[in-house]
Amino acid sequence: MPKRKLALAALTTSLAMTLTACGTGNPQQAGRGTTPPTSAVSPTPTTTTAASGPGSVPASPTTTPSNAVIPQSLDQVGVEIAALDNSFGVANSDLTNPQGDS
């Protein structure tokens, strides 16, 4: 009997975790059957769900709004533009003040 109760508890837990994952893992699936968003360009959240194992508590998803991605990308552009400035300076110097004689 205790084994049956244990198996039932495990099955219930597994079912609960599956339902939780289905509810948060895919926004498109979650949205099926509901009113579509009015905005033509909807934000694309970055959803991260930690893998759950036996006995673990399903982690709540962390959603990053798309405007939070801008700083990272812009910072990278800033780095590349700084490097470009250096490269352009070298190339410009080749023409204004050639190093060699021919």
Partner: protein
């Protein structure tokens, strides 16, 4: 100078000429059949102030053969150093050269220029006459154009591909920015300034793309034999790249403005 009778006097005169800045490469080009008299181009000039404009004024006399030989050897060694520097820049993964452009430049530098200059080094070492030195010096200048063609060609091509890469990065970012603006608008935020900056950003990226379109291919098509005509190509490329660089700076500042507005 052709009347100097000893190697020492010739070397002193050579040094004096260089220091005075009057004639930079007479000793090198003098060994060629025509002399290239070079003075540093003025800043902003689109053409080098050199060309085969004067008849040869040979400095290489049998009595001054050794310093002349050393001078040409030194000039060749300097070109090897420069070519290796260019090869290093081409292989630098921090640059955004396309694979094809990188391959083209690596081939030109390592399979054409460096072996050619290396062969001339051997010729100069084995030379026993001024005629042989002249032949090697002429080839060094006219066949390889390390400083006036290979160098600007390589550096400008790197800039062109770097700018193209940044244009792609910003272009990909446009979708994210549009979403971010819409997202903020949905939350009731006033995004009119962000939208205006975004419109400008797209225009700047587009303008940069127009400036750099096809530029790398045009640069890589230049050859040492095309000098001095291709100096105009390099000058025009610099102008286009400068314009694109300004556009990309403006686009970057637009992005920062948008980021600030949405916070």
């Amino acid at each position: 100078m052709r009347h100097r009778s000893t190697g020492q006097r010739a070397a002193r005169l050579l040094a004096a000429s260089v220091v005075a800045g009057m004639v930079v490469i007479v000793p090198v080009a003098a060994f060629a059949t025509t002399t290239t008299v070079t003075t540093p181009p003025s800043p902003g000039s689109t053409t080098p102030s050199s060309g085969p404009t004067q008849p040869s004024n040979p400095l290489c006399a049998p009595s001054a053969f050794s310093p002349a030989q050393q001078y040409v050897a030194s000039a060749l060694s300097g070109r090897v150093t420069q070519l290796n520097s260019l090869l290093s820049a081409v292989g630098n993964t921090a640059n955004h050269l396309t694979a094809a452009d990188q391959q083209t430049l690596q081939h030109d530098i390592s399979a054409v220029e460096l072996p050619g200059i290396g062969a001339l080094q051997t010729q100069v070492q084995q030379a026993t006459t001024c005629a042989e030195l002249r032949m090697a010096a002429r080839s060094m200048v006219f066949d390889y154009r390390v400083y006036y063609v290979m160098t600007p060609q390589t550096h400008l091509a790197i800039v062109a591909d770097d700018e193209t890469a940044i244009e792609a990065t910003l272009g990909n970012l446009e979708t994210t920015i549009a979403s971010a603006i819409d997202n903020s608008a949905d939350r009731g935020k006033n995004v009119s300034a962000a939208q205006s900056a975004f419109s400008d950003l797209k225009n700047e990226v587009s303008a940069a793309g127009n400036s750099t379109n096809g530029l790398a291919d045009e640069l890589l098509a230049q050859t040492p034999q095309g000098f001095p005509g291709n100096w105009q190509v390099f000058g025009a490329a610099r102008t286009s790249l400068s314009n694109a660089r300004n556009d990309l700076h403006a686009a970057y500042n637009d992005g920062r403005q948008i980021r600030s507005d949405l916070q």
